[in-house]
């Protein structure tokens, strides 16, 4: 997942002495890093590269480009001081992790020598090669990388109030770390007595499309642990005709839910909620509405591109990605289809399949390489296959390590891994190894 327009919180303090130690230690694997990027030749250039967004994609590509480009000027535009490890939100929201494990400081991961404009991009003007910030500052660029993340469109759900998450049985893992913790508080209260749990899925492209499923698996497990499962009913309301875009995974999850007693309702889109009365309103494709009472509701918001992208010439103008205003990039090179000096990274890309941090891990080196090629006057040579990975938690202590590509083919990184096999190893990866891997991506090493 990449960054979102979530509320800000104070960055965690870092002791300067500790930072110096960390910097010294961080420099140690430089030799090994050089070996790992042996193909990465350096290009001399005076180009100005603007990176919109400082989530995983924005910072990781800044780190890679700062190593690859000699003399380039790199500017990151993003107001956010806190770096949220968003793949950890589901662990916070289900009581596995404390909240402090998912927040770091963006500044600790920026490469040396870049400029950081602490504002958001308000307007993209690719015809004049400029971006305009929320403070009205015009920034000209030679090359642009759009890594803004998504806009969580809670406004499409009538009556929804982000401040109410955590109370009245209302949960939503997506907005920020605080909402994830509040979601756990609501789940913890709910599981003490049990009751009717309503889990939701919108019809739009999602970041981390596995998160709604993980929340469902874990809620059921928490009820089981609390001994209140027999007094409970868990129902998943999907706005689509499935629960996951990859058929093999979809079928596997549905079979598991059938065995676990989790019900599924299809083509039911959450359109409203009465938080005080604990009633959710769903609409089917014909527009017919139905009201469902709940004791616990997990809201997954519709997602779209932020307004700055959606309302710009950079967005798709027709096709399946036009409605959400997603970035019009070639799905292989991740280069903009009409503005060749623009590339896209992460959730903002109008390409098939939901994105996760693993998508960014695989696509950042490709975008960095292709941009270097373009700066050097050559054509982009690297092609992204749509790789995405999702450690699908099936209960506390067990997960499936699912990896797939644009075509929906299961593509395990190691041949011995069974993608649909529930496994302790996959769980261990999720809770202990993926954050270190994420940080290595952030630093531009893997």
């Amino acid at each position: 997942m990449t960054r979102t327009s979530s509320p800000q919180s104070a960055p965690p303090p870092t002791d300067p002495g500790r930072r110096r130690w960390m910097a010294a230690l961080g420099a140690a694997p430089a030799l090994a890093a050089a070996a790992g990027s042996a193909r990465a030749d350096t290009v001399k250039t005076k180009a100005h590269i603007v990176i919109a967004g400082s989530g995983l994609g924005g910072i990781a590509v800044a780190n890679r480009l700062s190593k690859r480009l000699d003399g380039a000027r790199i500017t990151i535009v993003d107001a956010k001081e806190v770096h949220n490890y968003q793949p950890g939100y589901t662990l916070v929201a289900t009581g596995v992790w404390p909240i402090d494990k998912v927040s770091d400081r963006n500044a600790d991961f920026h490469p040396h020598g870049i400029e950081w404009v602490k504002e958001m991009v308000a307007e993209f003007a690719p015809d004049t090669n400029t971006v305009v910030t929320t403070g009205g500052r015009k920034i000209a660029y030679d090359f642009l990388i759009v890594a803004t993340g998504v806009h969580l469109d809670y406004a499409q759900i009538e009556g929804m109030d982000l401040k109410a998450i955590g109370s009245n049985g209302l949960g939503s893992v997506y907005p920020n770390a605080e909402a994830a913790l509040a979601t756990w508080n609501a789940m913890d209260t709910f599981r003490a007595k049990g009751g009717a749990a309503v889990m939701t899925l919108p019809a739009t492209p999602l970041k981390c499309a596995g998160a709604p499923l993980k929340m469902t698996f874990m809620l059921r497990d928490r009820l089981h642990q609390a001994g209140t499962l027999k007094d409970s009913r868990v129902t998943f309301h999907s706005a689509l005709s499935n629960v996951f875009g990859v058929k093999a995974v979809n079928d596997n999850v549905l079979q598991r839910w059938k065995d676990l007693g989790i019900g599924v309702e299809y083509t039911q889109k959450l359109v409203g909620v009465d938080i005080g009365a604990r009633k959710a309103v769903f609409a089917n494709p014909e527009g017919e509405r139905s009201t469902v009472s709940y004791d616990y509701l997990h809201v997954v918001p519709p997602m779209r591109a932020p307004d700055a992208v959606k309302n710009s010439p950079l967005a798709w103008k027709d096709g399946p990605f036009a409605a959400g205003g997603w970035l019009e990039v070639d799905k292989g090179t991740l280069q903009h289809r009409r503005y060749p000096n623009v590339f896209g990274l992460g959730d903002i890309n109008g390409t098939p399949r939901g994105k996760t941090a693993a998508t960014v891990k695989k696509s950042v080196p490709i975008v960095a390489d292709n941009l270097v090629q373009v700066i050097a006057g050559r054509s982009p040579a690297e092609t992204f296959d749509g790789y995405t990975s999702c450690p699908m938690i099936v209960r506390e202590g067990s997960a499936m390590l699912i990896e797939f590509d644009y075509e929906g083919r299961l593509t395990p990184s190691l041949p011995m891994i069974e993608p649909l096999q529930e496994s302790y190893f996959a769980w261990l990866m999720k809770v202990r190894m993926l954050k270190p891997a994420y940080q290595a991506v952030l630093k531009g090493r893997v």
């Binding site: 506390e396 202590g397 496994s423 190893f425």
Partner: protein, 114 residues
């Protein structure tokens, strides 16, 4: 090749998170080894056996306890990849314990004579 590089980076980042502990342990081990090596009549051969026994006991304990320490349980080990990874982790703990027992045993054991 990429997967090996990724695993090395994961281990490196984990080590960065606990480097004071690792540095202290490494320093303590080096000091113990120097003291043991400089001990007159140090008997290394007889220290190997207790070191291996302790390493094996720690490895078995780690095998049984690590799943619980990661909010899982042995019941969640489903196929050979799970067992192999847990065994590798347990052997790592065992090897670390054995590495400390070896110089300690040399320092506390009887001296070689003749």
């Amino acid at each position: 090749m990429y997967e090996i590089w990724l695993v090395l980076n994961i281990l490196w980042e984990i080590a960065l998170g606990i480097w004071p502990l690792l540095a202290a342990a490494a320093l303590a081990w080096v000091v113990l080894m120097i003291l043991a090596a400089r001990r007159p009549g140090a008997c290394w051969r007889s220290a190997w056996r207790p070191a291996i026994v302790v390493a094996a006991l720690v490895a078995v304990a780690a095998f049984l306890l690590v799943p619980g320490g990661t909010r899982s349980s042995l019941a969640n080990l489903s196929y050979w990849v799970d067992w192999a990874n847990l065994a590798a982790i347990a052997l790592g703990f065992g090897a670390a314990a054995g590495a400390f027992v070896l110089p300690l045993r040399v320092l506390t054991g009887s001296r070689r004579t003749g």
